[in-house]
Subunit: 297 residues, 2 copies
């Protein structure tokens, strides 16, 4: 399983190091990625391992963040409600979404009890439909939540105290599928074309259910880009998005020159694309040599 | 890395079992497949592991075969020169062809010294261009080789004694890429179309360098099939083959209905197809989450 905890510290190197150290102090958990942003004043760890060690690593990093980050003196462009702001669990390979929801719930209970931090569950772990969307929980952030958490029933946490932790705030824990950051480059410098295609392809304006999209200018290449987040590649597939953008672009007489995946992608998303284009109707994932090597005997 | 040793015994179950046991006696080596053929009187093991343990497992299985198989009393349809007849090493995932050639050479030295069996290197490990082709080494088999090995300079082994082992013969060791068995179904029952397309796509009649192809009737589906072996998917890619067959079929007004991979396929072959169709020019294999999880830190 994978977990991607987001911490409200992107500037003080020593604090970030101690949070990372806490996560790495657990054997059999791997730090796949660390991304710190000074403007956002935020760091994002990507951790992977079996559920038990992974949850322990996340908990230790949260305990360290609770100790070292004080939101009362924190500023940054990114919205946040907690020192540890958001913790998604993501099922990989053999694991199911149910496993990830279970991991989120177990971590939430421990955080509420041992760290005395109010916990909200989101996405697949949400206990209220309106909490599926992270932004509906976070809204205007720590400074607002601190005032209303004890009085507004809509802002009541799912677990833990009905008051924010004085310095560490609250935390949003949940389970979701892997995100894919996917960009498609167009053979034009006309930003209006990229924006029009983004509107067609994204969910919010009538497009695919699990696609967020923007039209973006890339002056260094003299091209524009449809920049996307695919939030559920099993339901809104990479190849579906690619063919849709290509078809929309063709209506403007514009070609797709290439596409790019930013960061990591689950093997399955690319295998699904190969299956689609090669029309491999009866293909089984166990036919992939490397899957066979990874599976237990 | 993978190795697929071929043994000249496909009938005596106890002998096959002891060869398999010898291979399995090494920790961290996995038996992915065992295929025994009575008509061919031959068994093929598919083993995978890190180079050290894998080579040890292959060596132990060869030592057992040397002890238990006597070619002087062996008959079968399949050509063979040795009790252990052929041993290819196949690089997987992080490994390179150079690693596989290195494994073949190291095993060859050990076999020549410790088992006193003459060794020929083939395919990517060949020391003479005419030895790239296995059949050019094996020719008419053990009975012929036994007579000419000491006198014909063309049949001189690369390592070891200049006489066959009295009972176990000789062995051909080498390195090659993985084979992919790939079939494409056409939307017609006209076998002539499948045969014409097979001629276009296969190397032997002017097609792609690493493709073998036949047109085959599949009465159960009321369709015909272009049945292929891709002997080097890095150079003659699955997607190149698919698009070529589709294009040739279109010239007959025939559609490709679907395709199938028989048995195992390296992940890279499908990832390459996804990269091609999605135009992912700058994609790196390390962006695949599962590759990252498997690689060492």
């Amino acid at each position: 399983m994978e977990s991607v905890p987001n911490f409200s510290e992107g500037r003080r190197r020593d604090v970030i190091d101690r949070i990372v150290e806490a996560a790495r102090s657990v054997a059999d958990v791997r730090l796949l990625d660390l991304h710190s942003d000074e403007d956002h004043n935020r760091s994002v760890l990507t951790l992977a391992g079996e559920e038990g060690p992974l949850s322990e690593a996340v908990f230790r990093s949260m305990a360290t963040a609770t100790e070292l980050i004080d939101l009362r003196g924190h500023s940054g462009e990114h919205p946040r409600v907690g020192a540890t702001d958001v913790v998604p669990f993501i099922p990989l390979m053999g694991a199911t979404m149910k496993d990830a929801v279970g991991a989120a719930e177990a971590l939430g209970r421990r955080v509420a009890e041992e760290l005395q931090i109010p916990v909200y569950f989101y996405e697949e772990a949400a206990r209220r439909p309106e909490h599926q969307n992270l932004e509906a929980i976070r809204r205007k952030g720590f400074e607002e939540l601190r005032e209303v958490i004890g009085t507004d029933p809509d802002r009541e946490p799912d677990l833990g105290p009905r008051a924010v932790h004085p310095s560490a705030g609250a935390v949003v824990i949940g389970a979701r599928g892997p995100l894919i950051a996917y960009n498609i480059y167009l053979g034009t410098a006309d930003l209006a074309v990229a924006k029009a295609i983004a509107r067609r392809v994204r969910h919010s304006s009538g497009g695919l259910r699990y696609v967020k999209a923007l039209g973006i200018d890339i002056p260094a290449r003299g091209q524009v880009q449809v920049s996307m987040n695919l939030t559920n590649y099993r339901r809104s597939a990479v190849h579906t998005v690619f063919d849709m953008v290509r078809s929309e672009a063709a209506a403007y007489g514009v070609a797709v020159t290439d596409s790019e995946i930013v960061g990591l992608v689950p093997m399955e998303a690319l295998i699904d694309a190969a299956r689609f284009y090669l029309r491999l109707h009866d293909f089984e994932p166990k036919q992939i040599l490397e899957s066979r090597l990874m599976s237990s005997e």
